[in-house]
């Protein structure tokens, strides 16, 4: 590579071992020492934990390495700042095959974590309070039908009050605060009836205890809070997990750029630290980290991630380059015009903004249920109070009945119905390598009736590979693969992947032509057909043609982006699920047509600009179709934001990945179909659960209005319906057994 760089015009500085600066990622830890967080890619099994921790702890100087399996983050600590060598950790991880990125947790995430801990503490307090009060309540209930003395009952009620009042004051905070906020904004939310129910139940119980009554509702109030907090915590945990995933994805953006300092030295900095006007160095096989103009050097650039175009184009001095392009050969100096958040095309930025506002806010199933809920509950309680007063009951009796209605209708089951299913489904998706980027993606995914694919990098694999391995003589292919090992050129890497063996000695890279080496006294060449003395084929449709020459024998090697291995199976599975399929590509029609034909997709469009893709989506939306867009290119980002729901492979451009609702890992396309199957099942279960909650109320509310709900009945009804809904949610795991 060094020789190649020197051979290029413009006297580029050599890309020597650059200095990497990670000081912004280091954080001090309690008790001295210093730590740094890494987001690790490719963790998929239990054995990874020990493997990674052992490898990193073997690095000299590291005092502890701890992997969080849930968030895929590794915390490494050193005894002191001088000992901290993040570089060695990256090297150790790379040796065992994991790619890591420096990770900086945002302050928003720290606030979320604190909130989750607070919810869990509230949950713990109310849980233990409910258990202890139930101990006393069961004694009272059984005593009421046998021989409890009024004095003992009063003692038990007072003890219950002693536990319930502080526990509810502490554990009810999340609801009380939210209800107050809503009331201040002159609105009603789910927390208003909850707070009202809890406070009234406690107040009435204290009043009843003071008057030596038989019944008190302390157990109902605490149990209510316990179930509601469980639902709230599950919901919060689910959103926190998707947010952690999104933050991991964002940290992949912390790729490094090699910046040329004013004094001519080369320093590697996070791409986010590059400013417009800085000059960065890119050599063959690297992605361009910023938008910019070429100011020195020349090379061939693969822009498939930017525009979907599969043929590389030449980049010369003065040419525009976009972040995400892959440099095939040569070396470039680029003067930055935009960096960090501004890296993508202005057009894409503008379209993105418009597209995401056009989609509008999606109203989640649970919110729709909650909107109906609060007015209905208040009306029912008020009506039963008025009804009993009119029927001649005492004020005391009417209040008791109204409170019983409020307690019995408190949405325990409703609060658990949706989050429980979401948590179980998200776990099932994660085990299949599908990560949710937004909280409501699951619900939107279930409503989809059509799937649109991008071609390059989505239906096809992101890396090119050898397409005609069967037609090349085996020994020639083996030699070509060994020769190719010496180059970082993407086409050479595709050839190298087709064979095995050791690299040839004394390989020379001829810029713009290919590689030359020697084996068994004969010259071996790999490169352009002209370089190998072969007539290039007349019809190059898609991808590139290389040639190999060993002595007098030659062969042509076709390298192109191939379909994902299970693309055909996935497409037919999606069709069987009743989806209409289509392809929206930015590539040439000649390249899209064969792919569409092979997959049997009749509805395809080529040569689409980002605005054109949005136009296609809008046309479908007008016909009332809800579309899932699957894409990976920068040019797909606006379309992903505009579609009803969107998916990206993990290899997608950063901007695109950030837009996608769902990201899937690996080379297979099957996660698209699996995610949809799980999402549909999850939606069915959520609806079932909501119906269970409704049916429960249909039975329980008349009982409450009739004045038949004693604390015992309330306790049974609440815990029974909550348990039923939770058990039903666990069924979201089941399709795993059907589809291995």
């Amino acid at each position: 590579m060094a020789g190649l760089a020197a051979a290029l015009p413009g006297a580029l500085p050599l890309p020597g071992p650059p200095v990497r600066d990670f000081s912004s990622f280091l954080r001090p830890v309690e008790g001295g020492g210093i730590a740094m967080d890494f987001a690790v890619e490719g963790i998929d099994c239990a054995a990874c934990i020990a493997e990674i921790e052992d490898a990193v702890e073997a690095v000299p100087g590291v005092s502890e390495a701890r992997l969080n399996y849930t968030t895929h983050r590794l915390a490494v600590s050193w005894p002191g700042a001088p000992a901290a060598e993040p570089e060695a950790v990256f090297a150790a991880l790379a040796r065992i095959g994991y790619k890591a990125h420096p990770f900086e947790s945002s302050s928003a995430e720290a606030i979320e974590a604190a909130r989750a801990r607070h919810l869990l503490r509230c949950l713990g307090v109310t849980g233990f309070a409910a258990m202890n009060i139930m101990l006393l309540s069961v004694s009272v209930w059984s005593g009421n039908v046998t021989d409890i003395t009024p004095e003992t009952r009063d003692l038990f009620h007072w003890l219950s009050a002693l536990i319930a009042l502080p526990a509810c004051a502490y554990g009810g905070q999340p609801f009380f605060q939210s209800a107050l906020r809503a009331l201040r904004a002159r609105a009603l939310n789910m927390d208003v009836p909850i707070s009202l129910g809890v406070l009234l139940a406690l107040g009435v119980s204290v009043y009843e205890t003071l008057h030596h009554a038989e019944h008190a509702y302390f157990d109902s109030a605490t149990m209510l809070l316990f179930f509601l907090l469980t639902g709230r915590y599950l919901d919060h945990a689910m959103r926190r997990r998707t947010r952690a995933e999104a933050a991991n994805l964002a940290s992949l953006k912390a790729d490094l750029a090699r910046r040329i300092e004013p004094d001519g030295s080369v320093v590697a900095v996070p791409a986010s630290a590059v400013r417009p006007g800085d000059i960065v160095l890119v050599s063959a096989g690297e992605r361009v980290p910023v938008d910019g103009v070429v100011c020195a050097g020349a090379g061939a650039v693969d822009e498939s991630l930017v525009s979907g175009e599969t043929l590389p184009r030449a980049a010369t001095v003065g040419g525009q380059l976009h972040a995400g392009s892959l440099l095939h050969d040569g070396a470039l100096q680029i003067r930055t015009t935009a960096a960090g958040t501004g890296t993508f095309l202005e057009e894409i930025e503008r379209l993105l903004e418009r597209a995401s506002t056009a989609r509008g806010a999606y109203v989640k199933l649970a919110d729709r249920a909650a909107r109906l809920y609060a007015p209905v509950v208040h009306a029912t309680a008020a009506l039963s109070f008025a009804g009993w007063m009119l029927a001649g009951a005492s004020l005391h009796q009417a209040v008791l009945i109204a409170v019983a209605v409020l307690i019995i209708t408190c949405p325990c089951a409703l609060a658990l119905a949706v989050p429980a299913v979401q948590v179980v489904s998200a776990g099932a998706l994660m085990r299949r390598g599908v990560l949710l980027n937004t909280g409501d993606a699951l619900e939107r995914l279930a409503e989809v009736d059509g799937v649109l694919f991008d071609k390059t990098g989505t239906l096809t694999l992101p890396e090119p590979s050898l397409a005609n391995a069967g037609e090349v003589p085996a020994d020639l292919l083996a030699v070509a693969a060994r020769l190719a090992l010496s180059s970082r050129h993407p086409l050479a890497r595709a050839v190298a992947a087709a064979g095995s063996g050791s690299p040839l000695a004394q390989v020379r890279e001829v810029p713009g032509a290919g590689l030359e080496g020697e084996l068994d006294g004969e010259t071996v060449r790999l490169g352009s057909p002209a370089f190998c003395g072969v007539e290039p084929p007349a019809d190059v449709l898609d991808g590139s043609v290389m040639a190999v020459r060993w002595g007098a024998r030659t062969a042509l090697l076709a390298v192109r982006q191939q379909l994902r291995p299970d693309a055909r199976a996935t497409v037919s599975r999606l069709r069987a699920m009743g989806e209409t399929l289509g392809i929206l590509s930015g590539d040439r029609a000649a390249a899209v047509e064969p792919v569409a034909r092979e997959l049997g997709i009749a509805d395809w469009s080529a040569d689409l600009r980002p605005a054109g893709k949005i136009g296609e989506l809008d046309a479908r939306a007008e016909r009332g179709s809800r579309v899932l867009m699957v894409g990976d290119g920068l040019n797909d980002a606006p379309a992903l934001a505009r579609a009803h729901v969107s998916m990206s492979p993990i290899s997608a451009a950063d901007v695109t990945k950030a837009q996608a609702d769902v990201v899937f890992l690996g080379e297979r396309l099957a996660p698209v179909a699996e995610a949809m199957a799980i999402a549909r099942r999850a939606r069915a279960l959520m609806r079932q659960n909501l119906w269970i909650a409704v049916i429960y109320n249909l039975f329980a509310v008349p009982l409450a209005i009739a004045g038949l709900v004693t604390p015992l009945v309330a306790a049974l009804a609440m815990s029974g319906s909550s348990a039923l809904v939770t058990l039903n949610a666990l069924r979201a795991r089941m399709p795993e057994r059907e589809t291995p």
Binding site: A46, A47, I49, A50, E53, D54, L67, N68, Y69, T70, T71, R117, L120, R121, G124, V125, F128, M131, N132, L135, T149, T152, L155, L159, I163
Partner: protein
């Protein structure tokens, strides 16, 4: 009913002990990585790491 004199404090004390244990486990971050904990219990790397 004299039995209540020591049964009640005992029951409440046990409940309080459970609550304190829960709060301690929360404070020491034992709920930060629920999936990892489920898997770690099966690995015997603690034996290997001992000198």
């Amino acid at each position: 009913m004299n039995v209540l004199i020591y049964l009640l404090p005992m029951a409440l004390g046990l409940g309080l002990a459970g609550l304190l244990a829960f709060l301690w486990s929360l404070r020491t971050g034992q709920y930060d990585d629920m999936e990892g904990a489920a898997i770690r219990v099966l690995s015997d790397d603690d034996l290997r790491r001992q000198p």
